[in-house]
């Protein structure tokens, strides 16, 4: 039987025998339909002649004949013909001499082979086959095989994907009812990548007739596309909100420390962005240490990087407060300039220590990839981790400010420095500690930023103005204001961006803030009381 399938040597595509053979084939093809019927009724006749004919057609040069032969072969596969299966598999692996297939035919054979691969006992092989089939669905005749595969399938996820596959295959079914059903099932997935498949049904043939002859199917297709579009819009909206929350969480980490120190000393610390940078570089150093001394624990380096980033930034904060800011209290505008000078010094020092180029901070492996929330919407793990991290940091800041002695002092000094001093609050020590705390939080923000962006000497500069805006928006010394300001600014920017682009969005946000402070000069959450207007 095997030898019968193989073309005999000497029967090349140009030989006279071959011509004769092709002519004969046309006659034989008429018989094929009859044979199919026979096969379908379950009488398993060894269809040696048919296979032979297909193979000869495939070895020929006539594309139409070849195409038809492939269709026949696939139909034969659908009926469970073992020979046809073997032939498909060997064609798919290019194992048949003398047969040359162009891309279209090879794709069809490949699809049929993938359908057969669904019977593989190996889950990975099945998953791969489903993946391949979903991007180029095989003809509808193979639906029974896929349905059999669904019945066999143990894995719920694969079962679901296979069901989707039958829906896609059903789009080409011969029966209009089946097609309509398939259109509805495809639309229900809500996955925008199948939109073009539905759109194909609404095309017209060159002669003006519809590709899809049935009116009701076309109707269902139009509705299906509308529902896919709606799903796509929803995914985009959710994606925008997520991007906004993600940006907001970064801004929150950057602005939280700034709000605390601003509330306390009344000066916006221009070097605050550099505390972010120090945190990021601390993460870089910790990462390198882990890579060198404990490569097996590399995935857990953030656990060490977080405290390291906090301590490094807090230490620089203490030095800055003790050496410089302490001597400038009461002169806010000059302090502003001084902190800017400090930021220049810190940036230049980092350039000299680590070079002017960006350094690479690797994500631990558990942070790569993402969560597919809905079709067409992937939420990266590192961004999700940072949102969670930001919330934890806010919770810690809230606990420190509201449930510790230090927090009580910080709030007292923020509200009225003179009264606090009279009541025995050691304001000097509170200043230092609170400044270190705010700097440390910025360090934590830098640690988070290193996971999603470039780490370079200019890192802080990119976030500093946005952080100011958060503080301006949220008001001073108010945790709630900072949170609302950060997420509000993040979501607002990301909402405007798709329409106007990033630059104009930034400008628009800025103008909105300038207008906003016309109404609420003290920010969203203003301190109340006589201490406000000094």
């Amino acid at each position: 039987m095997e030898s019968g399938l193989r073309p005999q040597p000497g029967r090349g595509p140009f030989s006279p025998e071959h011509r004769l053979k092709t002519c004969l084939n046309h006659a034989r093809q008429l018989c094929l339909r009859l044979l199919m019927l026979v096969l379908l009724t379950g009488i398993m006749t060894p269809a040696l002649a048919m296979e032979d004919g297909i193979l000869t057609a495939l070895a020929g040069r006539d594309f139409a004949a070849k195409s038809q032969a492939v269709s026949q072969l696939i139909e034969a596969v659908a009926t469970g013909d073992a020979q046809a299966r073997e032939l498909v598999l060997s064609l798919a692996t290019n194992d048949v001499p003398n047969v040359r297939l162009n891309n279209i035919l090879r794709q069809r054979i490949g699809a049929a082979a993938s359908v057969l691969a669904l019977e593989s006992p190996d889950r990975a092989a099945r998953a791969q086959a489903v993946q391949a089939l979903l991007s180029s669905p095989p003809p509808a005749v193979l639906v029974p095989i896929v349905e059999a595969a669904i019945a066999r399938e143990q894995d719920a996820h694969l079962q679901e994907r296979l069901a989707l596959l039958t829906a896609l295959m059903g789009l080409q079914a011969a029966d209009a009812g089946q097609r309509r059903d398939a259109v509805q099932r495809v639309a229900e997935t809500g996955d925008p990548q199948y939109r073009t498949r539905l759109l194909d049904l609404l095309e017209r043939n060159p002669d003006g007739s519809w590709v899809e002859p049935d009116e009701s199917v076309r109707q269902a297709t139009t509705e299906g596309i509308a529902s896919l579009d709606a799903a796509d819009r929803r995914a985009r909206q959710v994606g925008t909100v997520f991007a906004g929350i993600s940006l907001g969480s970064v801004l929150l980490l950057a602005a939280l420390g700034l709000a605390i120190t601003y509330g306390l000393i009344g000066v916006i610390n221009m070097a605050h962005g550099e505390f972010l940078m120090i945190g990021a570089y601390a993460t870089f150093v910790v990462q390198n240490l882990f890579r060198q001394y404990a490569p097996e624990a590399f995935d857990w380096y953030p656990l060490a990087a977080v405290p390291a980033a906090f301590l490094a930034a807090a230490l620089v904060g203490v030095v800055l407060e003790r050496l410089v800011l302490r001597h400038l209290y009461g002169r806010p505008l000059e302090t502003l300039l001084t902190t800017f000078g400090v930021s220049l010094l810190l940036m230049q020092s980092i350039r000299m220590l680590f070079g002017a180029q960006n350094v690479e901070v690797m994500n631990p492996s558990w942070m790569s990839g993402g969560l597919t929330l809905m079709p067409g919407l992937l939420l990266p793990w590192n961004r999700l981790a940072i949102i969670l991290f930001a919330l934890i940091v806010v919770a810690i800041a809230w606990l420190v400010l509201n449930h510790t002695r230090l927090g009580l002092f910080v709030r007292a000094v923020t509200q009225n420095r003179g009264m606090a001093a009279c009541a025995g609050v050691p304001t000097h020590r509170v200043d230092t500690q609170a400044f270190a705390f705010g700097a440390g939080i910025a360090g934590l923000g830098g640690c988070a930023l290193s996971q999603i962006g470039n780490v370079g000497p200019d890192l802080g500069q990119a976030y500093i103005i946005d952080s100011f805006m958060v503080v301006v928006l949220g008001g001073v010394g108010q945790l709630a204001g900072t949170i609302v300001g950060a997420f509000g600014l993040g979501i607002l920017s990301k909402t405007i961006e798709p329409f106007w682009g990033a630059v104009l969005a930034k400008i628009a946000v800025l103008l909105l803030i300038i207008l906003f402070i016309q109404k609420r000069p003290q920010g969203l959450f203003a301190l109340k009381g006589r201490s406000v207007e000094a």
Binding site: Y262, G263, L264, I265, G266, V267, I268, M270, V324, H327, L328, Y329, G330, R331, P332, L333, E334, T335, L336, L337, T338, F340, G341, V342, S343, L344, L345, M347, Q348, T414, N416, R417, G418, A421, C422, T427, I465, F468, M469, V472, G475, V476, V503, K506, I507, L510, L511, I513, I514, I517, Q518, K519, P521, Q522, G523, A526, S531, V532, E533, A534
Partner: protein, 370 residues
């Protein structure tokens, strides 16, 4: 400002600025006049008559450098007026400076392009000038715009900012954000100002070749005259009744309001005047350095202007000029000798200046004299 009561327990001196200006008995007019005459005579002689190689010869490089620093001096004076006399620390003066520069750069671009389009526009396949380029083939219009455009921007921004009584650090930050936003805007090619590259490749000014020594002398002398004129104008302003109220607002805005003044107009006038002065300085700066691009609006430039004022001594008019000349002179020497340490040096000036010289260089002399 959401002001926090600053440190009322600590025995710090009050705002480190001299008392409000009093009408002076001694006039500076004769001194200024003599100085101006000397410069007007000496500079052309040294640059054009004295042969090259002679120790008294002024090279083109030196002329450009001095002219540039004089323009910085005007900008510093403008900033000193608002910061020293009305307590508004603007971190947006680089914007006004650059706007003036752009306005004059538009004139220079059209002059060098002749009847055609400026080169960068044909490069961006534009076929006609955008509407806001109208009139910039006229020198007088360009000079007018170099003052009016920054003035208008300052007027709109200042009206909203001062009306809601935004002040102090808050105002500084918002002016900085405004400058930053404008820089982003000018970086875009679509804005119509040459994007990233800005304007360069100027050839002539009023028909005179821009690189000729005589033109450079004229530009430098114009910068000098602008500086002298600006100094006298500012001096007149701060010594007038208006200037007294302005200083009162700086020192105690709420109290001045209770007395019956509305601070808005007072602050707005100083603010807009300062912006226009800064724009003119930018307009003279551009033909001398031969380029204007959005990098001029970088936040660091505004802050550098503030440090000139702080180093020179705020609350005086001569202080900002001294600061601008001193810091820029130091910058020229430093970047020539050890370029990589300039940022360290600048950072050190920022940190040590306010710490060691709370009243600036001028304050140092005053204390000595006292």
């Amino acid at each position: 400002m959401a002001a926090i009561p600053m440190n009322s327990v600590r025995a710090e001196p009050a705002l480190p600025t001299p008392p409000a200006a009093k009408p002076r008995s001694r006039s500076v007019a004769p001194l200024t006049g003599v100085l101006t005459l000397v410069v007007l005579v000496l500079v052309p002689v040294c640059a054009l008559v004295v042969p090259a190689g002679h120790p008294l010869h002024l090279s083109d490089y030196a002329l450009t450098l001095i002219g540039k620093i004089l323009c910085y001096g005007v900008a510093a004076l403008a900033l000193g007026l608002v910061w020293g006399y009305s307590g508004i620390l603007s971190l947006g003066h680089a914007l006004f400076f650059a706007l003036g520069g752009y306005a004059f750069g538009m004139y220079l671009m059209r002059e060098s392009a002749g009847d055609g389009l400026p080169a960068f526009m044909t490069f961006l396949s534009r076929t006609e000038l955008p509407w806001f380029w109208w009139g910039f083939d006229n020198f007088a219009w360009a000079v007018l715009m170099a003052a009016l455009v920054p003035g208008a921007v300052a007027l709109v921004f200042g009206y909203f900012a001062f009306r809601s009584r935004v002040k102090g650090v808050y105002l500084s930050i918002i002016t900085q954000a405004l400058t930053f936003a404008a820089m982003l805007l000018f970086f875009r090619n679509e804005t119509g100002f040459g994007g990233n590259n800005g304007f360069t490749g100027f050839t002539t000014i009023l028909g005179f070749p821009i690189a000729a020594s005589a033109t450079r002398v004229a530009l430098m002398l114009s910068s000098f005259l602008l500086l002298v004129g600006a100094f006298l104008a500012c001096r007149f302003i701060v010594n007038s009744r208006y200037g007294q109220v302005l200083t009162a607002i700086r020192d105690a805005e709420t109290r001045t309001m209770f007395v019956g003044y509305r601070p808005l107009g007072y602050k707005l006038f100083a603010w807009v005047f300062s912006a226009m002065l800064c724009g003119l300085a930018g307009a003279l700066y551009v033909p001398q350095v031969g380029i204007i691009n959005p990098g001029e609006m970088a936040p660091v430039n505004s802050i550098e202007m503030a440090i000139w004022v702080a180093i020179g001594g705020r609350g005086t008019l001569i202080g900002p000029i001294i600061g601008a000349v001193g810091v820029n002179g130091a910058k020229t020497l430093f970047t020539a000798w050890f370029a990589e340490y300039w940022l360290f040096f600048l950072g050190a000036i920022f940190v040590l200046g306010p710490l060691l010289l709370p009243h600036g260089i001028v304050g140092l002399f005053k204390r000595r004299r006292a």
